[in-house]
């Protein structure tokens, strides 16, 4: 146990050096466009990636950093990823929603194009961490697929969220947020701060 560092930042993702961020990773294989980047997400540019004359609707979901969690003040979120695997997962999720033309959709595909981008590193309050953008012949299919894709990303994507909290009474600096355990405090066991661990 002596090897364990007491540095409270040890659990935080390596925040990128703003002057020298890791290169973005994109796959653009029309009709899909997916990527992971440390840069702010480009909303108009991403919408343009799914534009097509066959679409009557473009639906976009933008997930943004909220300034609070469980009545605590959030300073920022930071995302780390297993980038090569996460990129592959994004590609697989996107492709799975590109289905062949069918009678049900008037001889067209359910949706036309899809873009999914996830930002990595620090994402300040109010900025986007994820964009899901879908173009479809009709809005209903667009809404449906965009929601399904977002939920799939949250379940499957190899990207993890660090929540940096405003220091309250000393110890609470942040934690990894996952769907099973709530916030995992920085120091691992013994430093429980935020509840929700275990069952």
């Amino acid at each position: 146990m002596s090897g364990r560092t007491a540095n409270p930042q040890s659990g935080a993702p390596p925040l990128s050096d703003p002057a020298n961020p890791p290169p973005p990773q994109f796959i653009h294989e029309d009709p899909i466009y997916v990527g992971l980047t440390h840069a702010p997400l480009d909303i108009p540019g991403t919408i343009d990636k799914v534009r097509t004359p066959k679409a009557g609707a473009i639906v976009m979901f933008a997930g943004t950093t909220r300034d609070n969690f469980n009545s605590k003040t959030v300073k920022f979120l930071a995302y780390s990823s297993y980038t090569p695997l996460a990129l592959r997962t994004l590609q697989r999720i996107a492709k799975s929603h590109i289905t062949p033309p069918s009678e049900e959709h008037g001889g067209y595909s359910k949706i036309q194009k899809i873009a999914i981008l996830h930002r990595l590193g620090e994402v300040p309050v109010g900025e986007e961490s994820i964009l899901v953008v879908v173009s479809a012949g009709h809005r209903k299919e667009g809404w449906e697929v965009a929601e399904e894709v977002l939920e799939e990303c949250k379940r499957k994507l190899e990207v993890w969220k660090w929540e940096e909290l405003e220091e309250g009474d000393g110890k609470e600096e942040g934690g990894w947020r996952s769907n099973r355990e709530g916030v995992q405090p920085v120091g691992g066991p013994g430093l429980g701060c935020c509840g929700g661990r275990g069952h």
């Binding site: 379940r155 993890w160 947020r177 996952s178 099973r180 120091g187 691992g188």
Partner: protein, 91 residues
């Protein structure tokens, strides 16, 4: 990522993320190969007491970017493989 060790030829690389990396205190290290996948969690528990209960039981494992079954008796991690412990997603 460019971190290399002298034992590289007889080792595999293991990556830790999020809460698992908090527990180990490192994002990446080398462990001796070959290692049957069924012994991976016990090996890590020996090195990081308590990690199984606190972090591994809810995690999945990939070898060279493919998810694997940690009870697969036929699977042996080879030198040069990239293994990753994948904690639960964001939900």
């Amino acid at each position: 990522m460019a971190d290399t060790t002298s034992a590289e030829s007889e080792s595999f690389k293991i990556l830790y993320f999020a809460g698992v990396a908090s527990f180990t205190g490192t994002n990446e290290e080398s462990l001796p190969a070959p290692l049957p996948i069924t012994e991976l969690f016990a090996t890590l528990e020996k090195k990081y007491a308590g990690i199984r209960e606190k972090a591994l039981n809810t995690a999945m494992v990939t070898v060279n970017l493919d998810y694997v079954d940690i009870e697969d008796k036929t699977l042996v991690i080879q030198k040069g493989d990239e293994v990753a412990i994948i904690p639960p997603g964001m939900g």
